[in-house]
Amino acid sequence: MQVFLEYLFAGISNGAIYAALALAIVMVFRGTGTINFAQGEMALFTTYIAWGLTTKNVPVVLCLLVATAAGFVLGAVTERVFIRPIERKSLLATLIVLLGLFLALNSLDGILWGNQNYTMPSLFPNSVSSFVSVGGARLYWANLGLWIVVAVLVGAMFQLFNHTRLGLHMRATASNRESAALSGIPVGRILMLGWGFSAAVGAIAGILFTPLSPDALGLGEMFPILIQASAAALFGGLDSPGGAVAAGLLMGIVEALLSGYVPAIGGQLQEAIAFVAIVLVLLVRPQGLFGSKEVERV
């Protein structure tokens, strides 16, 4: 039981960051129609910014806020400068630009912060003794804090989508861009905000997740997470924010339990689970768990 709970806790923490990044991917996909391959690297870049500030003795909360704001700007600028002029040309060109951005951001991290790994300080008490015991298993405050913040963040995003005017305009733009413009929505500004919000979500997720293990902040940190988050977004249905979050959590938990209990998978084959999931989803249910087949009568 104790071992099971420890696997489960680790799975929920991984799942929470998959969920947050998958949500970010879905937000971009709904507006722009592409998977933002640079989503993970954007989160890594902002995590480095936060870490850099902590080395200057800035309180972690303040680092989080600054890095989140930086993430928002990074996302918005990316849409305006790299995506908007190119997306009308072709979807493929947009994808290539995003792959380029992925590499460019990663190299920039390397230039600015070097290729050694760092330990990101936690927002929450993070010593060996800061845990509560649940059924004999240790639940660390940093994990619990991550869960709560991600839950609040996801809740806030859903509130934004479904109960605000801005959210309505975002959904309308995602549904039919030309019609949205004809209704008076400044489509460009709405897409820019969507990219900004999605990068801000990624920034928060990265800053909360990285402190969970020592020496986690490095150039290769986010790539595997991006793969898992993309798989989760696909699994949940690329246009469904709720599906992305549910699938992200599910993937984190399944992955932790499988690699814990099936020695053949262990720590090594962990990432293969995402690939298997992607292939299975595309075969069995291409629209994902909660994605919609467009219902439209004409």
Partner: protein, 236 residues
Amino acid sequence: MSLLEITDLRGGYGPSMVLHGISLTVNEGEIVVVLGANGAGKTTTMRAIAGLISRKGAISLDGLSIIGMNPDKVVGAGISLVPQGRGTFAKLSVEDNLLVGAAKRRDRAGIKEDLERWYEVFPRLAERKKQPAGTLSGGEQQMLAIARALMNRPRLLLCDEPSLGLAPIVVREVFSLLTRINAEQTMAMLIVEQNAELALEIASRAYLLEVGNVVSEGTAASLRNSDAVRRAYLGY
């Protein structure tokens, strides 16, 4: 001065020009119809006014030039286009579709009032307000598209082929509603229509387009009696 004044409007898609210098006017409270065969440039004219394509020449609404404006600014200036194909937000509820139509407005009370007004005029939308708009019938989606455009309280309503793909009885209903809205709200309308007979019935003036040029214009009655129009578009 007319409400809408278009002078020497040129435009098209990329390098291919479709409009070769169109001039037309719409007066306050008037219904004007644009007739023409497929490919005459009717839809392109509408898209040029709405700011969806790049265009040259002069377009002004009540003296204000809108030629360089983006689509959302044109809406803000008081021109709403009901696009061909209706532009339904399929996954959004009927009510959310209507609220999107009020994107340029800030007056909450007025928006609510208008929702009620258009639910009264289009009772079938009221019955289906929580339903995803993609599940509506073609006729209902056309009504929704018109009501959505009206939520902007435009001074000029542009309708692109409102009869397209609808059963004749539904087409009658749509046109009688347009007439009613025109009368009750004294709202000017510019309507592009293939169904020339019906369109000339509700319009006060008409323009006839051929390959991107205005070839004939006049009162609806005079165009109905012109031999050219009768042979080409009325079939008798």
